[in-house]
């Protein structure tokens, strides 16, 4: 994997010499880097072409060429343009003003339609609505059973029919069932396909006719490649989508497909899903996502999640230490336990600028419960002096700590190594020597 875009751009400009100003040729060299970054993020190559043309236009029109920090300027323009394409603000789910809110969920096989139906059901139920889930996929083996299991998990009723029938007819009867039982939201799962063939197109069109949907959500797997544009366009044309839902964003994909899909359909991204648990349905924030596509991390979400978990004051403290690079074992301990509270470590590392490309991420992410427990024991077996100044930890002190914590000297050494790694990372992030600098300026901290 390549480094974050801003680093690459700085590299390009360094190669071009340390002249303060750059020429149009230099700008094109820089834009080639942007192009590669976007292609590597799976943005469709046609979308990339148009995108680069727009960025170039803006760059030429502004002061980039005269700027003394052209790399930052270009990253900033790219970022703005990305946010623009991704949609300035996230749009909430539309609800029917009166009567039953009708949601159709469609997409290709394996994109996560059925699970999304469960997630939406859970969300609407939590918002105080009375949803009914509807199964219309008779093709995939056990699709109906899957929805029934989900319905049981979230305690929401599921309408299904044992005998195969056209989806539109099933939906019609499901709506009647909703009226009868007083449900005020109907969420219809649909059959998937690998490509949108005529059969499915007709089926979905008939379904939309019958249901008169409030929302037609097109589900897109975040790991989709160049094909995302065709998938989204075909579904949108066949059944007039009203929104996109991007699934599996808890993977390490850069998610360029989202950009492609936004560009060709113009539909708002209504939700993203970020985990296996049904609760993992989140709103979409274009500004944060732009950083991810460029491989620059998503600090805002990280801080937000931290804030939810730890409260304002503690976050400030951590942030301050991160920035100052002062970081002793006591801090390390605090941080490890905070990490434990915040959940998935790999996911968090992805959000930290400059770290998303880290090779040994998996290793760092292996900070699991057992390790945390052991680390806690080891650090707590140290004196305060040792915690603040780990350099004094000689062999005899380490032996004592190992005995005291019920571990071995090797465990103690490993922990100290991990601490040093973490400290190095903190310094890298705060020192500005790495790619985080440009992003920090962008985010204004």
């Amino acid at each position: 994997m390549l480094d974050a875009l801003s680093e690459r751009l700085q590299g390009t400009f360094r190669r071009l010499g340390s002249r303060g100003r750059i020429s149009e040729e230099d700008l094109d060299a820089a834009l080639r880097e942007v192009r590669v970054a976007l292609l590597e993020a799976d943005v469709n190559f046609k979308v990339v072409r148009d995108f680069i043309a727009r960025v170039r236009e803006r760059a030429v029109g502004t002061e980039v060429l005269k700027s003394i920090t052209p790399a930052q300027q270009i990253v900033s323009i790219v970022n703005d343009e990305l946010v623009e394409v991704l949609g300035k603000d996230s749009k909430p789910l539309e609800k029917a003003k009166s009567g039953i809110t009708r949601i159709l969920v469609c997409g290709i096989k394996g994109s996560g339609k059925t699970t999304l139906v469960g997630r939406l059901g859970m969300r609407l139920k939590r918002e105080g609505m009375k949803p009914l889930l509807v199964a219309t996929d008779f093709e995939r083996v056990a699709a109906t059973e899957q929805l029934q299991v989900l319905g049981r998990q979230i305690d929401v009723p599921v309408y299904f029919e044992e005998r195969e029938a056209p989806a539109a007819e099933v939906a019609k009867r499901a709506l009647r069932e909703a009226e009868r039982t007083g449900a005020n939201a109907v969420i219809v799962d649909t059959r998937g396909a690998v490509a949108l063939d005529d059969d499915l197109m007709d089926e979905l069109a008939a379904l939309a006719d019958e249901v008169d949907p409030t929302e037609v959500l097109i589900v897109v797997d975040a790991m989709t490649g160049q094909e995302a544009v065709n998938i989204a366009r075909e579904f949108d044309e066949a059944i007039e989508g009203t929104g996109i839902v991007v699934t599996k964003l808890d993977s390490d994909t850069r998610g360029g497909a989202v950009l492609s899909v936004r560009e060709v359909t113009g539909l708002p991204v209504k939700f993203i899903t970020t985990g296996e648990r049904l609760e993992a349905l989140e709103d979409f924030h274009p500004d944060r996502f732009a950083g991810r596509v460029l491989g620059m991390g998503d600090v805002v979400t990280l801080v937000e999640r931290a804030r939810e978990q730890m409260g304002e004051q503690q976050v400030e403290q951590v942030a301050q230490r991160m920035r100052s690079g002062q970081f002793d074992l006591e801090d390390f301990l605090t941080q490890l336990s905070q990490v434990k509270q915040m959940g998935n470590m790999a996911g968090m590392l992805d959000m930290i600028p400059g770290l998303s490309q880290l090779k040994d991420k998996a290793q760092i992410a292996a900070v699991n419960e057992a390790f945390l427990k052991q680390a806690e024991a080891i650090i707590q077996s140290m004196t305060l002096q040792e915690r603040h100044n780990p350099d004094i930890l000689n062999g005899s002190r380490r032996r004592r700590i190992a005995l005291g914590s019920g571990t071995t000297a090797a465990d103690v050494n490993r922990l100290l190594n991990q601490y040093r790694e973490a400290k190095k990372l903190m310094q890298m992030m705060s020192g500005g020597g790495r790619g985080a600098g440009g992003l920090r300026r962008l985010l204004g901290f």
């Binding site: 190559f45 394996g110 059925t114 899957q146 690998v194 160049q226 292996a366």
Partner: protein, 349 residues
């Protein structure tokens, strides 16, 4: 490629004979009209992919000129097929290095590069069933562990592999190791009922490793030849889930007395550059030996397999297309690439 396994008990000789390359679809087609239909559909689907992808390539070669426009077009076509920037660039660099003078020479050189890229891993694969290993097939029951991220079609792939081997006279047992996703067990059981094969299952939420272990016992007790172990889809960047998968592998090793004979990574053809990351992570945790590319009946090209072949040396063994049991075919690098570069029927000779 051969569908290689040793029968646990003597059976009619023609069923045991290992298949020659590319004969699987044909062998199935001879079985009954249903299977003829299956094979026909598979071929049609592959044809569709070939046309959309390779059709574009061929039209590029129609012009005789080797100029920047040609290289640019080739670059777009390869990148547009999810081949990835780096692989595309190095491929085209190697083609350029042969100093082709005509578009036809470009075509020939590109074909060679593409075929070599896919064939190299097939030649060194360590898989005992589909690999290029000398000597006897693994003792019965042979075991295939099937892994992949969510939604690539693992359970369906298992249904089809089971069908494929059953058609060849093998006695198959499947292990419902996806104990996480709602109704995944029911999905595999429905396949089992449809094909008339045994599916070993525990409760949802149970221990996948235990299911795999039990399936080995069950297969031995029933004199089965093949075991396919399903696993829950998991994102490859979730270390705890990958650790859990590594445990499934270890438990299989203990039960089987050797490592799984093949570890099959199921990859969705619509996947972009993340496919590389998936292949790398699954290889790290469970030593993948082969790849199956699914959902090839759409317009997706699955070009990421070139990168996976180059960087990880993993061979593609099967492709999956439609929704029927017979919609599976062995992957053939040469014919895949040939079709990729072949002149369309209507073109001049």
């Amino acid at each position: 490629m051969r569908l290689f396994w040793r029968k646990s008990q003597p059976a009619e000789p023609e069923a045991v004979a290992p298949l020659e390359e590319g004969t699987v679809a044909v062998a199935i087609a001879e079985e009954s009209t249903d299977e003829v239909e299956d094979a026909r559909r598979t071929e049609a689907a592959i044809e569709r992919t070939k046309r959309s992808w390779f059709g574009r390539l061929t039209s590029v070669f129609r012009g005789a000129q080797v100029d920047e426009a040609l290289w640019e077009q080739l670059e777009e076509i390869l990148i547009g097929a999810d081949t990835g920037v780096q692989v595309t660039m190095s491929l085209l660099d190697r083609v350029r290095a042969t100093k082709p003078r005509t578009a036809e020479e470009v075509r020939a050189a590109l074909r060679d590069e593409l075929v070599q890229l896919l064939e190299r891993p097939a030649a060194v694969s360590r898989g005992r069933l589909w690999g290029n290993v000398e000597g006897d097939p693994p003792p019965a029951p042979a075991l295939v562990l099937v892994v992949g991220v969510n939604g690539t079609g693992k359970t369906t792939a298992i249904g089809r592999l089971a069908y494929l081997y059953q058609q060849q006279g093998a006695r198959v047992v499947c292990a419902a190791g996806d104990t996480f996703r709602a109704a995944a067990i029911e999905q595999l059981q429905a396949w089992g009922k449809r094909l008339g094969i045994d599916v070993i299952a525990h409760q949802q939420g149970g221990d996948a490793a235990a299911v795999a272990f039990d399936s080995i016992d069950a297969a031995r007790a029933r004199g089965a030849d093949m075991i396919f172990v399903d696993t829950a889809g998991r994102l490859h960047n979730k270390q705890n889930l990958m650790d859990e998968l590594a445990k499934v592998r270890r438990v299989i090793e203990r039960g089987l007395g050797r490592s799984p004979d093949e570890v099959l990574l199921v990859l969705d053809a619509t996947t972009g550059q993340n496919g590389m990351s998936q292949a790398r992570a699954f290889t790290d945790s469970v030593e993948v030996t082969a790849v199956m590319l699914t959902k090839l009946d759409g317009t997706a090209k699955g070009g990421i397999v070139f990168a996976i072949a180059e960087e990880l040396g993993l061979p593609v063994r099967f492709i999956g297309t439609g929704q029927e049991p017979g919609d599976i075919a062995p992957f053939e690098a040469a014919s895949f690439v040939d079709a990729l570069l072949a002149e369309p029927v209507t073109a001049d000779a």
